[in-house]
Subunit: 260 residues, 4 copies
């Protein structure tokens, strides 16, 4: 019954200066409501729609930046991992390792992530049912690491479209693991722009509000100072200047849901 | 920004005594929050999964009962219509005529309903997109009747399953017509029990809460004193003894959403 | 193990002269392979996407034309019915009455159609599973009329899109009723053009070939001399000048499947 | 216009003796029709539904067995790869490297596989549209390796179910790359048995026949001498004793489609 934790940040790391600027603005957006945030950014976009999409700064440089953000802002940091060999170094810096949705059935990655002892945020594959997730979580838990988060981010619905099935939130919560709702990827339109994914940014706050009312432990909302020119996921990120108001709105629904 | 109107009642009319008992208990469940309700019941279940499903009392007897409920309880009444010829007689008694989802593309039925001048609640077909509904509404509006409600009740998602796409609520609201969320049919599992439809009653309050937070003008929630033995839609109806608490819970989210 | 029967014709009746011209060209296209055809045309398009879509000639005029086609060409004729009251008059002229997919759960229509004693072609609703169809067929069979055809025409797959699940053909055949594959509606994109449905005419022959190889008793293929200017379903109809070659191609797969 | 190539074998390697026995029986099943086959088996099932599923023999042992099968039977061999580091060693033995469907968007794996110069069989992700595949293939082609196969294996359709959209075959063929149809994974029911995937073995021949008639360059059909006791994918594999008849049947449709 704690207020939601907010996992937020730009989709991908651009530079230390950019990460610092984003973290500052995020901290400012969270302050009025006292919202705890985890700074999220990717050092490698390993599964872009097409080869022309920007990949990112790479692991070494990326982890260095995340480490500095963590030290300077005192916030936990999260990044996603795509190869077993990345889990250990990423966990030296990051508090939370994230398993990408496409990789949510890769046993070795789940085991390697689990073995680091970090918190593991598992995104539910777009091709999985909510009731498939206990088997997925059990792979991580088999390492003795029970610090697992299960994250809803949309389910395949025809071509180039995702739909959020809100029945999945209580179904996943029944595992006993905290549930995260990823509001910005849930409005992605995978491959919808031909060489990249489209998105419906305008519906992210709508779905986030629904999630708060259904009940979640954490929200995942990507943000950027200039989404339309961001190197990835621009069509679904929330402009940073709207985050404070959005967080405030969502907190009211979260507070009501949790009886505060 | 009015509190939601509640369309509620048993799925099908069973007898005058039963309707009266249900209306009394509904009125009692609504009283503490001052929730306005519309009494809903069907006189004919015209599209049961199989022939062995109970059809109902028929139009003449059914409208007589609805007329009495309306007179005794002073509440508006709603019924669904399946044939053009039923619209005029149903509208003599009912304040709202409902177009079933399967029939939401039947031009003649939409026109005949519209011509009665009654309020028309159009259920979105399970096979339609939210953006298909303006064309549907325009058929009713062409009769000069703009008293139109657009009702979300789930979209086909694989076989025997529906999913609620909450992006559809603001998309339908953009038409300017009030939007209704049907919480009990949205958790139906069409044909899921072989000779009849299954349902996931436990998720109706979850989806209703999400809908209130997203924003709706009305909720549609079927209820019964003994759902497991009801002649139709038992697996998804809410037991009447839980309605007062459910309404209270939903009103808090609705109030928050509407700034009351 | 008879060669497939071909249900074909323009989507809607335009005039006696047009129907005659189409029937002549269809007969010519079928002659080289000795393919038996049923002339299909609708006198009323009762569920257009929007009100601006052409409705058709109406029942009386339409049935008169279908009667003349039947007499002049010696072929069976098929039309679709949308109201219980239309079944008896339609059956006086038509050999086959067709239940539209959207109406495939309407009990009264299925009963009224069955009671005429005509062959009943039931289109599987876009919202139904193959295994839901035995309950649908049983409604017709309850009238003592077992002359039932079950017709696959695509299943809802996300928004504005249909997909053909070819597992459904043998699943429906297991009922013992002959199975029809509707190649031109299966490539419809419902509502895909805003005010009307789109279609992917180029895939109709592909899916029809697949259906012949899986095994069907009949094919349903709409055709027109000028699909792009047809009053309805133009985007998915096959130009009449391509029908002879298409039938020839499909007959080869049908012959192989049936061991001829 | 060559007859289809057949990619076949047990889902996972069990032992050298088992692989040898399977290869012998496959060769015997292919001989009457002169069907060229590629021996397929996995040395590691890296994405089982649950941790309790058997993983396999591991890369080193697995590649050794595949090398022996290739030498003894003179057939090309295929295996799937899950990590970039596996591509080079696997390509020393295997003629074809296969990218699993869940990994079809992982840029590094596609690049590493492409760089080996082996033929790359890319399974289309269950979450991708046919028109997303040119971007996927371009990642491999960017390495200068144009020996690409695109493989259909079903698309997410609701929960725990796949559907085959046969429009996807010609859409993928339009890329210019040969198209493969995977008949046994297309009838998988992912996660359908709780801790493992279910399957509908009986529909694999139906869909394979449809694919041959639509037109494919290769078929992928897993087989086993005792599917019900196989360590993985038993519910959808074809018993080896049925393969000769199945190949014969499919060749007739393939021959007809290709004008032989």
């Amino acid at each position: 019954s704690e207020p939601f934790m907010l996992i937020t940040g730009p989709c991908q790391l651009e530079s230390l200066d950019h990460a610092r600027m984003m973290a500052e603005r995020i901290a400012a957006a969270c302050a009025p409501t006292g919202t705890r945030f985890v700074f999220k950014a990717s050092y490698d976009k390993a599964n872009r729609s097409s080869l022309s999409g920007t990949r990112g700064l790479g692991m070494e440089k990326g982890l260095e930046i995340l480490g500095k953000i963590k030290a300077e802002f005192g916030c936990p940091v999260l990044t996603d991992v795509h190869e077993t060999g990345h889990c250990a170094p990423a966990a030296e810096v990051c508090d939370i390792l994230q398993i990408p949705a496409f990789l949510s059935r890769q046993t070795d990655l789940l085991l390697a992530a689990g073995e680091t002892g970090a918190v593991i945020n598992i995104k539910k594959g777009q091709f999985l049912a909510p009731w498939d997730m206990p088997n997925v979580a059990a792979k991580v838990a088999s390492t003795g690491n029970e610090k697992i988060l299960l994250c809803e981010r949309g389910t395949s619905f025809g071509y180039n479209t995702l739909v959020t099935d809100f029945r999945g939130l209580p179904q996943m919560e029944a595992t006993g693991y905290p549930v995260v709702f990823d509001a910005t990827h849930s409005v992605q339109q995978p491959g919808g722009l031909g060489g990249s994914s489209g998105g419906q940014r305008e519906f992210a706050p709508v779905l986030a509000r629904a999630a708060c009312s259904v009940g979640v432990s954490a929200l995942f909302i990507e943000t950027h100072q200039d989404p339309d020119n961001a190197p990835s996921d621009g069509p679904n990120m929330i402009p940073i200047e709207r985050m404070e108001a959005l967080i405030g709105d969502l907190r009211r629904f979260d507070d009501l849901r949790k009886g505060r």
